[in-house]
């Protein structure tokens, strides 16, 4: 076999090898990189990757166009549906068109109550920047939350700087928060002080409590 035929015949196989390699790299990278929110009903990254065929039906079914395709090719999650809530949050449709449109088991069809969505958990990640903690009565995240007074409550405490004001601190109740991201979407700061962390990262017991119980 001369060099020319070698390149001609071998190229397809090397490309296939690259595909295979990418998939294997993706398998190893189970942790995911950054905060990636998956649509309502997605059980875990691993389960979604196993069951999602990338048909985009959930993407097209969402009336708010909140879902899009994951385009990070090296993550091994290429083509999986994701939400970037700072751009468009999930508005928790009562009829869950996203789950109902999914032909596979990628999205959990037994989830029928939008209030039981659990895509992640909001965390007040930037306490220094949050207007409410700085004595200003912003509280936007609290007002917009579809589970107001369940997923977010306001905790009153004296404002140390003046000794006269009350601070109304937004505190997230991890058990009720669906991770819809309406709070993150609505935070008026340039960088949102409240962010939804993917479920497996916003460890509901440890991480969340240490943050909300500070100060």
């Amino acid at each position: 076999m001369d060099r020319r035929t070698f390149i001609k015949e071998g190229l397809p196989y090397s490309v296939a090898g690259i595909f295979a390699g990418l998939t294997i790299i993706g398998q190893a990278d189970q942790s995911g990189n950054g905060f990636v929110l998956r649509p309502p009903g997605a059980k875990s990254e691993k389960h979604l990757r196993q069951h999602c065929v990338g048909c985009e039906q959930c993407i097209h079914a969402c009336p708010y166009q909140a879902i899009r395709s994951d385009r990070r090719i090296l993550s091994g999650n290429f083509g999986l549906p994701e939400l970037v809530v700072r751009e468009t949050p999930c508005y928790m449709c009562p009829d869950l068109p996203c789950i109902n449109s999914c032909p596979t088991e990628a999205l959990d069809h037994s989830l029928t109550d939008a209030f039981r969505i659990s895509m992640g958990t909001a965390v007040l990640t930037d306490r220094g920047a949050c207007l409410s903690l700085n004595g200003i009565r912003c509280e936007i995240c609290y007002r917009v939350c579809p589970l107001i007074d369940k997923a977010i409550v306001l905790k009153k405490s004296p404002y140390r700087e003046t000794g006269k004001h009350t601070v109304f601190e937004p505190v997230i109740k991890a058990e009720s928060c669906t991770g819809c991201g309406i709070c993150e979407y609505s935070c008026p700061l340039d960088q949102p002080a409240i962010q939804v962390l993917a479920s497996q990262r916003a460890d509901k017991s440890a991480h969340y409590k240490t943050l909300s119980e500070q100060g």
Binding site: P12, H60, F78, E105
Partner: protein, 300 residues
């Protein structure tokens, strides 16, 4: 002198029309229509589920699951492509094939020789992809499929055209650049990468040499009644059909007279050969009696 008149683009016209229709269907969700959602892996059209049979197999292997709800949508698709000759999907529906065809003039420019395609290589890729899905528990082909990539490419181009919400400055060019260089841009580079292999290495390399979807449909085509038929007394061996056929190897037997139809189901049922034939020796034909094939091709 024999009067020479071919169909000059009759089937090509209908094929382009259907291909265009499919692209419009694929971008319809981006334009705000709701009668269609999904892509060529799996979709819902007017409430009817449609599943690519290969994607169904791949999903069952990866998900280690047998979803009965899948079967009706898969069956429907299987029946349609069984009737229409298997790889009719490739030349009449597939958006990647459409893009690939748009680069055909480049092949002529580079005077590329007509390639041959080995079926063992194609079966190898089909088996390899299915095996990878089984082992890795991920529907592997669906995540790297140029068929899906091409349709998503059209979709994201359309999205950037239909909405200025995702781009800050909203001008047409900026939104197109946004699609090209971030996020969905990877689709473009991926499709162009495959196209460049086809242009510089081997025309039709992906579609006829690798693509497991094409291979699957070619297997289905083996039992399909629809074939290209030839009237041997009309064929004067001019070789026009060879020039336009993407997989010209399939025409050797019928034109040489050892078969009365195109037997090799790698034929994409594109109809190019029918359009090109000056004596109208070729045509589509339904043949349910398969015995007749084997009689004629005894020398094959």
């Amino acid at each position: 002198m024999k009067k020479r008149r071919n169909l000059s683009g009759y089937f090509l016209f209908w094929r382009r029309l259907l291909q265009l229709g499919i692209v419009l269907l694929l971008v319809s969700p981006a334009a705000g229509f709701t009668f269609f959602r999904g892509n060529l892996i799996s979709a819902t059209l007017f409430g009817f589920p449609l599943h690519d049979p290969l994607a169904t197999i791949d999903y069952f292997l990866a998900g280690k699951i047998l979803l009965l709800s899948f079967l009706s949508g898969t069956f429907l698709v299987l029946v349609v492509y069984w009737i229409f000759g298997g790889r009719s999907f490739c030349s009449w529906i597939c958006p990647y094939h459409l893009i690939s065809e748009m680069f055909l003039p480049l092949h002529r420019f580079f005077r590329r020789p007509k390639p041959g395609f080995s079926s063992s290589q194609r079966y190898g890729f089909l088996g390899g992809f299915l095996l990878m899905s089984l082992i890795l528990s991920v529907p592997v082909f669906e995540s790297v499929s140029p068929v899906a990539a091409a349709s998503q490419l059209f979709q994201s181009l359309a999205e950037s055209g239909f909405s200025n919400q995702s781009v800050t400055d909203g001008t047409g060019l900026a939104s197109i650049l946004n699609v090209w260089f971030s996020g969905s841009g990877i689709l473009l580079w991926f499709v162009l990468f495959l196209i460049s292999i086809e242009v510089f290495v081997k025309p039709g390399w992906w579609c006829h040499g690798v693509c497991p979807v094409g291979t699957f449909y070619s297997l289905l085509g083996k039992i399909s009644p629809l074939k290209i038929t030839i009237k041997h007394n009309a064929c004067d061996n001019c070789g026009e059909c060879f020039k336009v056929c993407p997989v010209s190897q399939v025409l050797i037997a019928p034109v040489q007279g050892t078969a009365n139809r195109v037997i090799d189901s790698i034929c994409t049922q594109c109809g190019n050969c029918i359009d090109s034939c000056p004596t109208r020796a070729l045509n589509f034909g339904f043949q349910f009696n398969r015995q007749e094939n084997t009689d004629v091709i005894s020398s094959h």
